[in-house]
Symmetry: C2
Subunit: 113 residues, 2 copies
DNA sequence: TAAATACATAATAATATTCGCATGTGATTA
DNA sequence: TAATCACATGCGAATATTATTATGTATTTA
């Protein structure tokens, strides 16, 4: 059993526009740091910082190829997450009809709002 | 089309242990604030703050019942997210065999790490 | 109507995140 | 071997997040 806490930490790391973009690009295949520099339009140190954060959290890894570092997706949770991030939902969850038992258990049986 | 940016904002709001716990409890049914006080073991103002954050982001809503506020899940994205958060994965994504074309397109065809 | 209950808000302090800039390192090339 | 390329790291400033304490508001009860 993977502890839920660990997954929540991953979620926190992932929940950033730039890092989501990085992960989406990595689902398309391996990329090196300077590839991201081009596609993300942020500074090289910033790319490096995001990649380092993803790597230290076990989300991506890389292999070295000459002076390039080739990053790839490692964490199997990512593709599933990216998929539901883009999923369309038609409607909100319907509001409960009325008044389940809560703390007091003394609900009058009439919804007032 | 729901903008991805919006979903990422949601992700950021959700990525907190207490708020995940709140959402998990809400998948079980409606709860009022003091129910959370009992189950979460944090102060009442803190419960209120987390719930307010979830509400202002359209993730939950409530109806008023006397002096109780009955919170319920609203955002349909949540159950899917909670489900994959708890999903078990056996292995990492296999590392790519070698050397796709990146910026330089001059890969020597040999993986060095 | 005074007190109690259920919850929200404001203000603050501690901590974390994020990005910029400067600099450093290792590999390749001229 | 000096210069260049690809990338990482250190540091600092701005901003965001989080939880605590104190206080406020609306509803119900005594």
């Amino acid at each position: 059993m993977i502890p839920l806490e660990k997954r929540i930490d991953l979620l926190k790391v992932i929940a950033h526009p730039i890092r989501i973009k990085i992960l989406e690009e990595l689902t398309q295949g391996v990329k090196c740091v300077s590839d991201f520099e081009d596609s993300l339009d942020i500074s090289q140190p910033n790319v490096s910082q995001h990649l380092t954060l993803l790597r230290t959290n076990g989300i991506v890894d890389f292999f070295v190829d000459g002076r390039l570092k080739c990053y790839f997706l490692k964490e199997p949770f990512i593709p599933d997450l990216l998929e539901i991030l883009k999923k369309e939902y038609e409607e909100d969850i319907p509001a409960p009809a009325c008044c389940p038992v809560t703390k007091k258990g003394t609900y009058p049986g009439e919804r007032r709002r």
